[in-house]
Structures are given as C-alpha cells and as structure tokens.
C-alpha cells in the first residue's frame, strides 16, 4: 500500500545550518516520533528502530536507514528506510527526498516528499487511514525538526553533537566513521502513541471532509 506525502515548511535558520541538521540521520531519527538510531553501519547507513504503542502493547519496528544521496552543494538529500516489526506483524518502507532552498529573508524552505509503503495488518485495517496517519506523523516530524533547529541555533547546547571528525561545513570525508552504538545525547525514544496518532488523523480527516463538503478546497 503505497502512499505519497509532500510537506513543505519554512524556518528562520539559514540554509547551511538546516542542511547540517538534516544530513545527520541521528537528528532526523530524533525527530521521527518513536524512533532511535542504534548503530552506524557506515557513514551513510544506520540501523534503528521505531516504537509504536497501541493501548498497552508496544511494537518495535527494526530496520535500516540509508542516505542514498547527500548533495551538500545543491542541498538535496534522499533517504531510504525499511523496517520490519520484530514480532512479524508487518513492515514499512519509505523513500524520502529533502530539498532546501534559501529564502530572501535569510531563512530556509524545506521541501520533503515521502513515499511510504506499508505491508501487513496495518495495510488491511489501517488502509483507509494510512494517508492521514502518515500525515500526522510527518507533521509531528516537521514540528520536532523545527524545534531542534531552533535549539541548535540558539545558545542552548545542541541536542546532538556533530560526529567526531566531521567538518560542520564541508561534506564528510570518505574515511569510515567510528561506529557508535549509542549516542548518549539522544533522548530515549518515546514510543509513538498509535491511538493518539490515529485520533489526530481521524480528526484531520473529518475536518477535511467537512471542509470539502462546505466548498473549501482540500
């Protein structure tokens, strides 16, 4: 079940600062509700997990995230992720592209497009809600990303220190990065509360329905 989500948002921070944050998967992971990076396989490939909580039961999706493309000059990145439910309940894969554009006021426009494919029980029962659920989760991602951006911009110590040996401005050298099994600065991942996401998505879907019904555009 493939779903395409596009989200564009603006931030005050300059393009290079935004790029630095976006091109470090640990930052990206930190913004995905319920996600954490557990291991760096190489400089572009990372193992991680996403926790989803439905009522009292928590399910872990374990998988891999890889930067397919990191073009610092054009400020474009492409991220591919794939995860499977550890209990064997299903899987999901995602291809996300992010493009940054400098704005005249010095800020940055972040344009992301994600293609998500879901397999399993979620694709059956949740099929009708996948668009809205993905939307809500993505909305949560962009909110957190913006928050992190603000934190790293200000005097507040950034939540994630740049990886050892990485030049903050120039692209990463080809030398392999030391494997870090845990990033101590990463806060423990709160499992994303599926029920809350579901109801948020439902609310959004209903709002949109009535909006359309009463003549508004989607």
């Amino acid at each position: 079940m493939a779903v395409r989500i596009e989200k564009t948002f603006q931030v005050q921070e300059p393009i290079d600062q935004v790029w630095k944050l976006l091109s470090d998967p640990r930052n990206v992971a930190g913004c995905v509700p319920g996600a954490r990076i557990t291991e760096a396989v190489d400089e572009r490939t990372f193992k991680g997990s996403v926790s989803v909580k439905v009522g009292p039961s928590v399910t872990d999706y374990k998988g891999e995230v890889r930067f397919e493309r990191l073009d610092a000059a054009a400020h474009e990145m492409e991220l591919v992720g794939k995860g499977q439910d550890v209990k064997g309940r299903g899987s999901a894969s995602m291809k996300m592209t992010g493009r940054l554009r400098s704005l005249p006021d010095g800020g940055t426009e972040v344009a992301t497009v994600a293609e998500v494919n879901v397999i399993g029980i979620l694709a059956q029962f949740g099929g009708r809600m996948i668009n809205d659920v993905s939307d809500v989760m993505f909305g949560e991602f962009t909110k957190r990303f913006q928050k992190r951006l603000q934190e790293s911009a200000g005097a507040v110590k950034p939540a994630v220190a740049p990886a050892a040996g990485q030049d903050p401005v120039a692209p990463t050298p080809a030398a392999p990065v030391a494997v870090e099994t845990t990033a101590p600065e990463q806060p423990p991942a709160e499992p994303v509360n599926a029920a809350a996401v579901f109801f948020a998505a439902l609310r959004a879907a209903i709002r949109r329905f009535f909006h359309r019904l009463l003549g508004g555009s989607a």
């Binding site: 079940m1 493939a2 039961s57 499977q84 439910d85 550890v86 209990k87 064997g88 309940r89 299903g90 899987s91 494919n117 879901v118 397999i119 399993g120 029980i121 694709a123 059956q124 029962f125 099929g127």
Partner: protein, 784 residues
C-alpha cells in the same frame, strides 16, 4: 407420475414447515462454537503479514512463558510428524504451517493453545517471527513472465503454471470463426470474491486418551470425506475417528476444504489429550479460507447475420492463489466450466483454461458455484448480450432463436455434456410475461429520450449439478455417489440418515418428505439425520447442488426397497399374492376388494411381531446411489434497473426469476433458496471484491470492506417456476440451490450495460460499484 399425498403425509410438493426451526428460533442450535467439553482448551493461529517471504526464525519462548499457555506448534514441529504439508482436494499440496516460506498474507505460521480464548490471543501476539521479504506476484497475467518470482519451490517443475486444460474441437471451431459473418467478443473478469457464510469455520478436536478415539466436531459440508482424509493423512485408523458436523451456519462451499486450523487442532488434541477448540475470526475467514472465482475470461461467438450462433471459443486464465486447493472432481481442473455453451445450440465450440499460482489465499471453488458454472453462465450470458448489441437485436429474441429446442433432449453439447432435459423457451416466455417485457422496453425508450438511465437485463442460464456418475466423477479418488439408510420402527415411525450435510437447505424436512412420499409415512413421523460419520451412511456431502440429485435419489431408492419388502409382508398378512396388491401412499390393498388393506404402520408392526416365514425381521434398507448422469436445472432471470446519474448508484427496481428444477420436494424451501442465492448474486454484481495491492496486502479482508447485502439493498424477488422433470432421476428432481447464484450476476450486469448501451458501453466488470459506474457516466458526459 408422482402420486399426490395428503398434507398430513406431506410428500413431494407440500410446503411443509421445517422441523429444524424449533431449536434454531430458540437459540438452541448446536453450532461448533456451542460445543463445550470438559477440559476444553482454545487454539489460535499466528499468521503471516507478508504475501511472500522466507521465514528466518520462529521464536515461541515468550508465548510459552505466558501462564495459561499449553503449547505452541510451529511448522518445524509438524515437519517432524510429516504433517507440515497436506494434500489439497486437487492434485496439489498446501502447507499446514509454513516452515521455509510463506506464500500469501494471512498464511498460517504457528498455532498456540491456551486455557481460554483471550489467553490464546495474548499468546499469539507473543510469538515472534522473523521474515525476509521476497518479491510479490499478484497479477495472474504476469505469473508466466520470465522475471516473475517462482512461488512454489517445493514443486518439481519450477513454474507458476499449474495446468492447461482444453476441451472441444479447436480446428473446427477456428474454421467456423474464419467463415463467420458476425463475430462478437467479450473480455470478462469474474472477480475474486468469498462466500462468507455467517458462521466462520472451526472445530473441536477431542482426542480421548481413554478410548483412543478422536471425535472431531467440524464445520464440514462433507463429513465422511473429511474423516477418510484425516485418517489417511493423519495416520489415525478410520474407525477411531468420528466426525460430527452439527448445525452449520451456512456453507456455500466455504466448508468443503480442510483447513490448517483443523489439522493443528487435531495435532494439539493428540498431544495434550484434551479437547481443543479452534474457531476462526471473520478476518481469518475472508483472508485465508477458500475464495471463489478469479477467472479472467474471453469469449468469442461466431454467428450468422440472421442471429444464429455457430461457434463458441473460450480462453480463460484462472488465478488459484498459492496452492491449488480448488475442491472439485478430480478429472476437472476447471470444474464444470465447459458448460459454457449454456442454453444455446452451438455447432462447434472450444474451451481452454490455464491455471496459475499467485501470492494470494488458495481456493477457487466456492460460493454456490456448482464447480465453476457461475463463471461459465456469466460468460455466455454476457457474450450473448454483446452479440445482441453487435447485431442490434433484442436480447430476448436472440436467445429464443438460439435455445436448444425441447425435442433435442437429451442434448449432446459440443463440449461433451449430455443435457438431460430442458424447455428454455417456456421459462423465458414466462419470465417475459411476468416482467411485462414489451412495456418495459417502451418505458425504456421513453426514459432514454429524456436522458434517464433504465436497463433491462436477461440471463437464460443452464445449470449442471448432481455430481456425479462414478465413471467420471470422484473427489480425491472417492467416487461421488451418495446414500440413504432408512429404518422403520415397530410403531410405524422411521429414521432416515443421509450421506449429505445440510447447512440451511432444510434436509431434515425435505428429505423426510421424500421418504413420506415413497412410503406414505407422515413426514412428522420421520426423523432425518445427517452429519455423524459413526451413524450416517457414507456420502460425499452437500455442495454443488448435488444433494437432491444424489442423496435424495438414494432416499427414494432405499424407500422403494422397503416398499418391496413391505409388499411381501402385506401379501402375507392379507393372504394374497403380491401381484394382486396395489399401492397408494401409506397402504397396500387387494385389487378389487375394498376394505382389504394394510397400512404401512400395520406392516411395520408385523415386521417385528409377525414376520412372514423366510423373511428377515425388521423393515429397513440402505441404498448407495450412483447417478446415471448429472441434472440440468435452468431458468430465465430478468432484471430491471435505474441508474442514478448523480451518484452512479444502481437501484434494482424489479427482479423476475423463473426457475426450472424439475419436480420440487418443498416449494417453500426452494423459494427460500432462490431468494438467498439471488441476494448473493446481488452482492457479487454490485459490492464484492477481494483484491490485493502490489505488496500483496489483501483489501476486502473484513466486513468493513467486504460488503454483504442487507435488507436495505436487497430488492423484492418475484419468483415462479416451470417444471421439466429429469428423465433419469427417481422422482424427476434436479437440484436448485445454486441456480440463483449461477444465473443472476449476468442479469444484473446485462441490465446495467443495457442502461448504458446507447452511450456505447459494451461491458463493465463487476463489482458495479457506484464509483465505477459514475466514472463511466462522467466519461460519457452524462453525470448529473
């Protein structure tokens, strides 16, 4: 000639009220999930979320650690006992629990057993399976592409092609097409759907360590066949297995296959020495049990400009899912699909079917299909309408012109069937009369001029049921006879047991009426039993509308054997010779001597108290009936629809159903069957679809998405009958249960296409959802 019995006797033709009602209206039925045995535990299946994946590991530790969990069975466990795979009913095998890989979403991977239902559900959540996803194949048209994944690595031939089957005369048919004046073609998909009986499948497997016997309470339409298969596959002596098929909440073909859940429950019970209950949920039922149809068909008709059909050419791609578990007679990979020449006199015909594997649930034969006759009838009835459109002919007249005339029966079809009897024009004319056909056409023309969309659809189907003669028909090797055993008690009451198994068709009443007719014993005095393999004579079960043609016939024959013995006893009691006796239902009288007679009750009493010398005591008989041929019910259905131009919704304004099933046992029951089957046809035509997305996720796997008609969508059904008895059946009956599902989808679709024909529409595939129709209206520029 069938003697008319009194209402008290209640023989053939009486609308006797049903005996089975009393317990069912009180909620005192005994369905499998109602069975409660001491020490009973519950099983639940763990299922694959992936359509195609290798299994890397199955971890049952956490599940086993949960208090209340008694066992977790995996594929590897079954493999040790040689039970990881089991034979299907059609020359293939299927996994009971997956060991190396899974082949469809919802496939069975493990089985947990716990003290209660809820703990079993908890435990199922705790089983951890690691999968490695593989590329998925869901499009049957891609199954034979070189770059498509090979699904069945267990088979010697590494291909997704299961079978090629053909019948008829290819060369002669092709030649006729080359010379044809007119050719019409339709590509019609009969979509994958599911019978969805209201009661899901399930069992209670009770292995008693004290007696060494396994009692299997089973949702089974064929208890004896299941017993034999469990014995052979499970290695349990057949005399130590008792299958009890109690009250069944609808079958429709869903309860003919053997499912992994049954096997796991049996294994669990053998292992634990306790009764194990397994009842599947609706989602499991829709996603893993025997689906129906999924036939991708092309029909071509070659005809003369005068409208006379000459040849039929059919090519079909059959999507069987991951295993060929189609439950059909062993010599027929496409069931009885070759009845696709239908009610029409084709001189030449050729039909070929290719079956393929895909990453979907296994099955194919189900949902009142008569072994693929639903697909065949739909195809020919759609093709005839396409031909009518091509010729600008009236669809009713075109059919009347081409019907096999009554004097041509028994009729040899070009695809090898010998139709026993038929009078298609009589049914058609009656239906046209009931519908007021000419008036409807006038109304349609007037409405069309105003831009309103009204359609009239006709379907004149011929069915083929009653499988079947031993020379041609067997299921998994067991010949398709059926049986009846009757015992008359000293006080004149009787018990009759049959090898079939009703799931709502009313055998307890109707089959009693057969015996009542033959012996003149009041139907209220006759107990009918089915479903317990310890007591019922061996039969092949109830599906494909075979019960009345086979077991019903056996009932009549067994009763006649009893009547023969009764005549001897009567002759003895009346001190007359048998030649001087005449029979009327319920008594033998001496010809020409009024008052000198014996009732069947007196004769029964004498059979135990005053036995004629040389005769054995008792009054009973058993008969195993091998039908000489199949039977061919038929009919004409006419459907009138109005399409809403704003929403695309089709309203079925009227539906006329004229059926001919020969002599009828219980008209009330037959009408009930017609109503039910037409409602299923309505669901199929307008609402039902089980589909898979490109990742193999099933869509339509629960009742939110798989729609069943409610009382609101279902129109009023107008029914009538003609009667053309079967010449070879003991009381001229043919069977009727599936006719409405066989004949109606084409009537619905023909009506909708007819409503849009003036816009250039030739065919629309089912389901005709409002969305689908609306898109066509939009395309044609007629949306309101």
């Amino acid at each position: 000639m069938i003697a008319k019995t009194s209402p008290e006797i209640g023989g053939l033709g009486h609308s006797v009220k049903r005996k089975e009602d009393l317990r069912l209206i009180q909620g005192k039925g005994n369905f499998v999930d109602d069975v409660r045995l001491a020490g009973m535990v519950y099983g639940q299946v763990v299922r694959s979320p992936f359509a195609h994946a290798r299994i890397r590991s199955v971890n049952v530790e956490n599940a086993l650690a949960l208090p209340g969990v008694l066992a977790v069975i995996t594929g590897k466990d079954l493999e040790k006992a040689g039970l990881a795979w089991m034979p299907t009913l059609f020359h293939d095998r299927q996994m009971v629990l997956a060991v190396d890989k899974v082949l469809f979403q919802s496939q069975e991977v493990a089985f947990v057993v716990a003290e209660d239902r809820y703990t079993a559900a908890d435990a199922a959540e705790l089983v951890e399976v690691e999968y490695e996803e593989l590329p998925v194949l869901v499009d049957p048209h891609r199954a034979l592409d070189p770059d498509s994944p090979i699904l069945r690595e267990d088979r010697e031939e590494k291909t997704n092609h299961i079978f090629h089957w053909e019948v008829g005369d290819r060369e002669a048919t092709d030649r006729t097409f080359q010379q044809a004046e007119v050719r019409a073609q339709v590509n019609a998909i009969f979509q994958r759907c599911h019978p969805a009986p209201l009661e899901t499948c399930g069992c209670v497997a009770d292995y008693n360590t004290g007696t060494g016997r396994l009692t299997l309470w089973l949702t089974s339409q064929a208890p004896h066949a299941h017993r034999t298969l469990f014995a052979i596959v499970g290695g349990i002596p057949e005399n130590n297995i008792r299958v009890i098929s109690p009250d069944i909440g609808g079958g429709f073909g869903n309860k003919v296959p053997i499912y992994p859940g049954y096997v796991c429950a049996v294994v669990a019970s053998l292992k634990l020495g306790r009764p194990v209950k397994w009842i599947e949920t609706r989602s499991e039922n829709l996603q893993s049990t025997g689906f129906a149809r999924d036939y991708h068909m092309t029909a071509e008709i070659a005809a003369g400009r005068d409208g006379r059909v000459k040849a039929l050419r059919v090519k079909t791609l059959a999507d069987h899912g991951a295993f060929n578990a189609a439950a059909q007679p062993s010599k027929f990979p496409a069931g009885l699909f070759s009845v696709c020449t239908g009610s029409y006199d084709f001189q030449k015909a050729f039909c070929e079917v290719d079956g393929v594997y895909t990453n979907k649930a296994p099955g194919g034969i189900a949902y009142r299909c008569s072994f693929r006759v639903t697909e065949a009838a739909y195809l020919i009835e759609r093709a005839m309408d396409v031909l009518a459109q091509e010729l600008k002919a009236d669809p009713a007249e075109l059919r009347l012109k081409n019907f096999i005339p009554p004097d041509r029966f028994p009729y040899q079809s070009p695809l090898g069937w010998s139709y026993d009897s038929g009078n298609y024009a009589a049914a058609m004319n009656r239906a046209l009369e009931m519908a007021g056909y000419q008036e409807l056409r006038k109304e349609q023309a007037a409405k069309r001029a105003k831009g309103e969309l009204m359609g009239i659809g006709i379907s004149s189907f011929t069915e083929i049921v009653g499988a079947g003669p031993a020379h041609t028909f067997d299921i998994a090797g067991i010949k398709m006879f059926d049986s009846c055993e009757i015992r008359v008690h000293p006080t004149g009451k009787a018990i009759a047991r049959f090898g079939t198994k009703s799931q709502g068709q009313g055998h307890e009443t109707a089959f009693g009426q057969i015996v009542a007719q033959e012996l003149g014993i009041p139907v209220a005095d006759i107990t009918v039993e089915e479903g317990d393999t310890d007591t019922a004579p061996y039969g092949l079960g109830t599906y494909a509308s075979r019960s009345t043609p086979t077991a019903g016939a056996a009932g009549a024959m067994a009763a006649r054997k009893i009547r023969d013995k009764a005549k001897k006893i009567a002759a003895f009691l009346l001190e007359a010779s048998e030649e001087d006796l005449e029979w009327e239902p319920g008594r033998f009288s001496v010809k020409g001597v009024p008052g000198k007679s014996k009732t069947i009750q007196e004769i029964a009493f004498a059979a135990y108290t005053n036995i004629p010398p040389g005769l054995e005591a008792g009054l009973e008989a058993v008969h195993y009936y091998d039908p000489p041929n199949l039977t061919f019910p038929f009919g004409t259905y006419i459907c009138v629809v109005d399409i809403d131009k704003g929403t695309g919704e089709t309203k079925v304004r009227r539906f006329i159903a004229v059926d001919d099933c020969g002599n009828i046992i219980n008209p009330m029951i037959v009408d009930g069957q017609i109503h039910g089957g037409l409602t299923e046809g309505l669901g199929i035509a307008f609402m039902q679809l089980i589909s898979y997305d490109e990742s193999g996720n099933v869509q339509g796997g629960n009742f939110m998405d798989y729609l069943v008609p409610t009382a609101m969508e279902t129109p009023h059904w107008e029914t009538d009958k003609t009667c053309t008895p079967s010449p070879h059946h003991p009381f001229g009956a043919k069977g009727v249960g599936e006719s409405p599902n066989v004949g109606s989808p084409a009537a619905f679709v023909n009506a909708v296409v007819d409503a849009l024909a003036h816009l250039g529409v030739k065919h629309i595939d089912m389901p005709l959802t409002p969305w689908k129709v609306w898109q066509i209206l939009k395309q044609k520029g007629v949306v309101d």
